[in-house]
């Protein structure tokens, strides 16, 4: 656990980079510090391993004041990943990764064996071990940077804009892999970024800084999106936070419609009747294995000669489906928006149709989620308290 107690960093000349910061990073969690440049996020990060010393307050690492530690010794126990990978150009990949183990006196053989182990962990092929950094792509170099930081198995990992120098596709992959790694390793991670999307994606908690080194809000990503503390945070999160918030709501909460789903061998007239009874213009046609074939319009089904089957209707493509048990409401909404029928297909883990959703069903689910956690509705305190019992009564 890392604890900031009233930490201030003031530079000679009066610039205040960090102003009286109180912050607690629980062990085993990922804390993302995010904010515009000059907000003190990087300074805060670098004070944890004493690259910068605070001018006031103190920082505790597992309850111990870091000012009492020798800087080099302290740093060997804290992994560090830097923006431009910062790999030593004159060392091979394996020797780059083995840096800290060698510094703390492991033998060369043991350090290299550990390096190989880490290369596998971060998804680098073993044949790269003897290459030099210039022979690797930017994304690979950044993986080496992560492996190097993890080499001596430090409990704490500091990451200073680790993915900002790679292209967006590689960045997304690296973020996903960090999340996976962290699920296994449970390091105490402090990650600095200026990218709020990244913060929300990888953080267990996100600390939003405002210029002048103040903490604007510290919360889980979900709660940040649902209830920004003030207009600064709201602006910083961006205009589409309402939609991004849906990433944190599971699609399994949707009440799916399984009435307007028919097999391809159903009589066309039956299928049309199903649609009309449900008050819908479309039915989803699926094959005998419950895999979706496409949308059939009720009017088209009715115009088919009698004796036809639903599968013979003109089928509109169903676009992309969403996994009911794996995806979020955001994926369900996206699929709905892209579907020509304005309705999207929810499937199980094997791709079999469970049911379909619509804007109206999405709306109901989103509102229900807001009522379950009244704060998430983003309403002021008083109103919230007034509304909660009502919502409960309705249910």
């Amino acid at each position: 656990m890392i604890t900031f107690e009233g930490v201030t960093k003031r530079y000679p000349g009066g610039t205040v980079a960090v102003d009286n910061l109180d912050l607690e990073v629980p062990a085993g969690q990922t804390m993302v510090l995010v904010g515009p440049s000059g907000c003190g996020k990087t300074t805060s990060l670098r004070m944890i391993n004493r690259m910068i010393d605070p001018s006031g307050g103190k920082i505790l690492l597992d309850g111990k004041d870091i000012q009492e530690s020798n800087p080099s010794v302290l740093r060997r126990g804290i992994g560090y990943v830097i923006q431009q990978s910062g790999l030593f150009p004159n060392r091979t990949i394996q020797d780059n990764i083995a840096t800290v183990p060698l510094l703390i006196g492991w033998g060369r053989a043991r350090a290299r064996a550990r390096a190989r182990e880490l290369m596998t962990l971060v998804g680098l092929e073993e044949q790269l071990a003897r290459r030099y950094p210039y022979q690797l792509s930017g994304g690979q170099q950044q993986r080496v940077g992560v492996a190097r930081a993890l080499a001596a198995d430090p409990p704490v990992l500091l990451m200073d804009e680790p993915f900002s120098a790679v292209d967006p596709i590689v960045r997304a992959t690296l973020q996903d892999e960090l999340i996976k790694l962290q699920a296994d390793l449970h390091k105490t991670i402090v990650l600095v970024t200026h990218d709020v999307e990244e913060a929300i994606k990888v953080g267990d908690q996100v600390a939003i800084f405002r210029p002048g080194g103040h903490l604007a809000q510290l919360d889980t990503p979900e709660r940040l999106l649902a209830a920004p503390a003030d207009s600064y945070v709201e602006n910083f999160l961006g205009f589409d936070r309402g939609i991004r918030r849906l990433s944190f709501l599971a699609a399994s909460g949707l009440n799916l419609d399984d009435r307007t789903v028919v097999g391809e061998d159903t009589a066309a007239s039956m299928a049309a009747q199903v649609a009309r009874q449900a008050g819908e213009d479309w039915v989803l046609v699926m094959d005998s294995g419950r895999r979706p074939c496409g949308w059939a319009a009720a009017s088209d089904l009715e115009s088919l000669p009698s004796g036809s089957q639903a599968g013979q209707a003109r089928l509109e493509p169903y676009g992309h489906t969403f996994g009911v048990h794996t995806d979020s409401l955001r994926a369900a909404l996206d699929a709905t928006v892209l579907s020509p029928a304005g309705r999207a297909v929810g499937v199980d883990d094997d791709g079999r149709v469970i049911g379909v959703t619509s804007y109206e069903r999405l709306r109901v689910t989103i509102h229900a989620a807001d009522e379950d956690s009244p704060q998430a509705a983003g309403l002021a305190g008083a109103t919230r308290r007034d509304m909660a019992p009502e919502a409960a009564a309705e249910q």
Binding site: N49, M51, S72, V73, L74, R75, R76, I78, Y80, I82, Q83, Q84, S85, G86, L87, F88, P89, N90, R91, T92, T99, V100, L103, I104, Y132, P133, Y134, Q135, G145, R148, L158, S164, A165
Partner: protein, 233 residues
């Protein structure tokens, strides 16, 4: 051109070539030994660099012959009298190259080393100096080549080198000797230069081949300065 003169005097020519090589290489190496601490200090404490650079330039501006004459009362007509001025001259090339070499270490690498727990000395020896090698060797190549050619001036005070062939050839009005002396100095300089190029390749297997390096440098220049820590310097 009297070709037969060459085999007849082969032993003398070989002797003079070796002496010239000695007078060229030793000052460059001594210059390197002095330049490393000086250049490292200049890279670390920026205020220290301008006075050191000025001093090195002033030394370089002194005529070699004048320096020899000043030194004769102390060191006599020995190799030392030639080696000391040539060593001082080499500083003018070597100190800036050591400084540039230290500055060629990317700021992200320096920070990463510090953050991983390298102390200042260990960082210097294990990270910064190895990365500075290519730039330092580039300076050493210039220093060796210029010492080799300047060493011949020492002949004027009787310190033996290929310069003997110039003076003797001039006095005897024998152009063959002068041409052979000139050709050997050029050949000696080229051989030493080649050895240093090979040494750099052997010492820095981590450097991209030159074409890739140029591309990388162009790419680095095109990056916005703000994206590179310390890039605004």
């Amino acid at each position: 051109m009297t070709w037969s003169w060459i085999p007849q005097n082969a032993a003398m020519i070989r002797q003079l070539t070796l002496e010239n090589a000695y007078l060229g290489i030793v000052p460059a190496l001594l210059g390197l030994v002095i330049s490393l601490p000086l250049g490292i200090a200049c890279a670390r404490w920026k205020w220290f660099y301008p006075p050191v650079l000025s001093a090195a330039s002033v030394l370089y501006a002194l005529p070699s012959l004048a320096l020899f004459i000043v030194l004769i009362p102390y060191t006599g007509l020995t190799d030392t009298t030639v080696i000391i001025p040539l060593t001082l001259f080499s500083l003018c090339v070597l100190v800036p190259n050591v400084v540039d070499g230290m500055r060629s270490v990317p700021e992200s690498v320096r920070q990463a080393a510090t953050a991983m727990g390298f102390g200042a000395l260990r960082r210097l020896v294990q990270v910064e100096l190895p990365i500075a090698i290519p730039v330092v060797i580039a300076g050493l190549r210039v220093a060796v080549v210029s010492s080799i050619s300047l060493a011949s001036v020492g002949q004027l005070i009787g310190v033996s080198s290929l310069g003997y062939l110039f003076i003797d050839g001039y006095q005897r009005d024998f152009p063959t000797e002068i041409i052979v002396g000139g050709a050997l100095i050029i050949a000696l300089a080229l051989v030493c230069d080649l050895v240093l190029v090979l040494a750099r390749r052997a010492l820095t297997p981590w450097q991209p081949p030159s074409r890739q390096r140029e591309a990388a440098e162009i790419a680095a220049r095109q990056q916005p300065a703000a994206a590179v820590p310390g890039g605004a310097r």
